[in-house]
Every structure is written in C-alpha cells, then in structure tokens.
Amino acid sequence: GESVGLHLPTLSVQEGDNSIINCAYSNSASDYFIWYKQESGKGPQFIIDIRSNMDKRQGQRVTVLLNKTVKHLSLQIAATQPGDSAVYFCAEADSGGYQKVTFGTGTKLQVIP
C-alpha cells in the first residue's frame, strides 16, 4: 500500500550544526507535504508545508526540499538549538480529492549541547 516513511529513526546533532531529516513517500498522487514537530507530552506542531509545484520552501531557520522524481522530502534546520530536540513527522496528502493525511513514523532529533 501507499506509505510515508523516514530513513533515520534517531538523529543526534551538535548544537549549532545544521540538521537534515529525510522522508520518503510512495503515493504519486500526493501533492501536499507537511512537517510537524512533536515535543514530549505535546501534540504535533505545524512547522512548514510545501506543494508539489515547488521544490523548495524556506521558513525561519527551516527549509523543506521536495524531490518528486525520487519521491523524497527533507527538512533542514539551520543552527540547531536544544529547543529543536523533538520527534519530527512528515505527512502527505492529495488535495485533488479527499485523501486522509498519511503520517510517517517519525525521527527523533537529539541536540547535543
């Protein structure tokens, strides 16, 4: 079946370094992609999204890259801070009709002070 998955379950990064979290998707009909951050005991928090007519979108310290050819999504966090430590989920949806949002399994980001 269709799936959204992550390559790395845990990522450890030195404070101040850049982080890259990867995600693979397999539903070719998906055209809307979202990244969420989930801190312990909290619900997922929206970070950034991107539509399939774009291959890059930037926010504050975050950049999402979309490669439709290989069905790959990545989240880049610049100058990683201790407050970035959390689990990050990618998600996909098809805006052309109702398709429930499919979430990946998550990557835990650990920032080493």
């Binding site: 928090q45 109702y98 398709q99 429930k100 949002v101 979430f103």
Partner: protein, 115 residues
C-alpha cells in the same frame, strides 16, 4: 489561546468501563480529525469530520469506538467496554478545510490508561 483544546488531559479507568474524550477545535475550522498514538509510535488515523458528517471513519479499530460532532464544532470520541490495548494518547486536530488544503493543528491529546 485559540488552539485545539482536548479534555481530559489524562484519564485512568478500569477495563470494561466506557470513556468519553472531548475536542474543541479552532473556531471556524470545518475539518476535524481524531488520531491515536501509542508510546513512541506514529499517528494512527481514526476518523475525519467535515462539518458534522464523517466521510471517513475507516480508522476506527472496532465497533466499540464511535465519534460524533455537533454544531460543526465540538467532537466527542467514545470508547465502550475499554480494553487494555486501548491505552494510548488520543489526539484531535482541526484544519480550515479538507486535508489537502492546509495543515492540521493539534491539541495536546488525552492520555488514556486502562487498568
């Protein structure tokens, strides 16, 4: 704030009891979703509401689970005759429109423990 609100934040109950979980979405959001998250796991979709109707309830694990939404706003998720495997965090989210239009905004969940 004006975020998604869920209650109770924690619920401990005995096996076999019924529980009701509440979600207050962001005002004006027509779409509402329920998910279940087990410890250290991803999000398991349960049900999606558009207004008061549920076009997709395919994720409800059994007929012990039901949900309703009234007035296009508040939603309740009911679990009857709870089992230990029902223990999880139940998350509610809302979005302005259908899933592909914009991001979902989540509450902090109800942590359900079945003894």
């Amino acid at each position: 704030g004006a975020g998604v609100s869920q209650s109770p934040s924690n619920k401990v109950t005995e096996k076999g009891k019924d529980v009701e979980l509440r979600c207050d979405p962001i005002s004006g959001h027509t779409a509402l979703y329920w998910y279940r998250q087990s410890l250290g796991q991803g999000l398991e979709f349960l049900i999606y509401f558009q207004g008061n109707s549920a076009p997709d309830k395919s994720g409800l694990p059994s007929d012990r689970f039901s949900a309703e939404r009234t007035g296009g706003s508040v939603s309740t998720l009911t679990i009857q005759r709870t089992q230990q495997e029902d223990s999880a965090v139940y998350l509610c989210a809302s979005s302005l429109d259908s899933p592909g239009v914009g991001p979902q905004h989540f509450g902090d969940g109800t942590r359900l423990s079945i003894l």
